[in-house]
Symmetry: C2
Amino acid sequence: MDIGNLQTPCLLLDRGRLESNIETMADKFKGLGVALRPHLKTPKSVDVARRLQAHGAERFTVSTLKEAEYFAGAGFGDLLYALSIVPDKLARVAALNRAGSDVAVCLDTVDGANAAAGTVVEGAPVRVFLEVDVDRHRTGLRPDEPRLLEIAKIVDGAAHLELAGVFAHAGESYHAGTIDEIREQARNEQALTRQTAEVLRQNGFDCPNVSVGSTPTATFGEGFDGITEARPGVYVFQDLFQANLGVCTVDDIAVSVLATVVTHHPATNKLVIDAGGLALSKDQMTGSQDNDCGYGLLTDADGSVLANLHVAGVSQEHGYVTTRDGSSLDTAAFPVGRKLRILPNHACMTAAAHEVYHVIENGAVTDTWGRVNGW
Amino acid sequence: MDIGNLQTPCLLLDRGRLESNIETMADKFKGLGVALRPHLKTPKSVDVARRLQAHGAERFTVSTLKEAEYFAGAGFGDLLYALSIVPDKLARVAALNRAGSDVAVCLDTVDGANAAAGTVVEGAPVRVFLEVDVDRHRTGLRPDEPRLLEIAKIVDGAAHLELAGVFAHAGESYHAGTIDEIREQARNEQALTRQTAEVLRQNGFDCPNVSVGSTPTATFGEGFDGITEARPGVYVFQDLFQANLGVCTVDDIAVSVLATVVTHHPATNKLVIDAGGLALSKDQMTGSQDNDCGYGLLTDADGSVLANLHVAGVSQEHGYVTTRDGSSLDTAAFPVGRKLRILPNHACMTAAAHEVYHVIENGAVTDTWGRVNGW
């Protein structure tokens, strides 16, 4: 089918770019002898997970229990649910595991560990990863915190829990100014995660898994000695934020939103498309970077970049497109009805606004892939 | 059911507040003798539309064709699709109308009018509203623009289209500093919309509908002489942005996101909840107001406001809660597992992240109402 026959706004997925992004990362970690546990919060799609599997991935990360249930139902059993577990969610995890999956959970507080230990669940012990705070970015424990061993002891003492390892997410790599800085953050992420595993082992705890995360540190990180797995996610699609970081180029971005020019507003030098805050998301994360892309950059329907255009503003269903340099817009070149594509600032957020991917290969729509949203 | 039994994050809808918001607006416009055409882009729910209907609404506004199809399928036939129409969408509208609905469309460019006139559709003529630009905010035509009559002539000349009136949306009222300013914008919105209708009539065109919009101008607007309908939307739920504008109070906000405390991060004085950028949306529209609410303000599970807390940051599934005044957070008061609610900056965006409303009355969950997302 021709792209022009799709109702807009809708989400396109360039199959060739997806395959290439998956392959590049898979090859790197095969070469290192380190497992990949791709984070499925970005694609949330069984079809994409199958492509990752085809390139060797056997374990995955998820961000919601709905993802866990969806992927487990499709046969992807080795999952890490990477948000600190709370009692009622532990019950949902245990139900999945009794049905044959091996969903691991994570913890990083004494309070949470006591709550999990106090919530006895039936079935095989649920594996627990302790989260390491490598950069004061978000959550987790430092290797030298007394809480670390306290939590390990609580987990170790609960018959329905099993200490499975440690994991970190170098979120601060999203604020790196240079690739050298990302490399430094990757070194730090690996070192602190390894150190946390060592502290546990020195104190008599098992720590088979030593897991690190983030697309920037997975892309530029070196060594990975003592690391057992890496959990990048957004690399499968890439986006403008990653391109600005230097992790990819704009031509690697595999997802885009197809939109239609619905009107012009000459008084404000804008053309208006039918992809607004809901179809693009209101994520403006490139606003913190040198190359602020507004709510996204434009390409033609065939994917060729329209370098001087960006989505400067959005309402719920309107996107306001204007020139990046302030020059006068040639509205005659963008008649009402013309199809355009928007490259996302943040692929995870934009993809989550849509129910399906329209898979494109060589300019034609060849398939429709599902995804799971919600909780 | 007790709220504590819901899986989080999820969307709560306070039935009492909803009814009160609906009733207040309905009573105002009944008193004025002006029809309400509530904008359903906010609730996107047949159940909410039925409550509006119970308070007298007989016509509605929608922002997507999926909404049009969903509401038409539930018997809500008189709809205005308020995004400039393009040919392939006109075909979808005509299909709905052949099945018994009366979905009207809108236009504001010569280009779009020619495209619509050139797309002959079967069935009764599709009603067309011309959009009026009252404040250079977004889209539309000024009453003195020669394009106005040119477009009216194109529509009038197409047998499958019927000129049905004019409509405006005073979007700039969202940037008003005072209620007097909103009143002034309402006067301007009414005056320019009426003037546009007059220009059409003086030139021999029918203009039965003269429609104005926006919750702020509908709330504070006076007079409404010569106006046939008003199209506010967000008033059914209200939100922090509207409260900051003075349109409502925080206690009128009918929707909130129920979340669970999943961990603490003492090093950065944060507690972390399981509602992040996806469950709350990344809308930061209160950031342009004096009272910046971050990604939302907190209440207890019972709805009582926790005045010194806000969601200061989000990742995809993490929300980072801290104090508004920078004081030290008493994490012991918010143990892991505790339920909290987040009042949204922008109800339309937050609600769109969810598939259903958990309706609450007197603190208990009494119903589940559906909504339609996507396109």
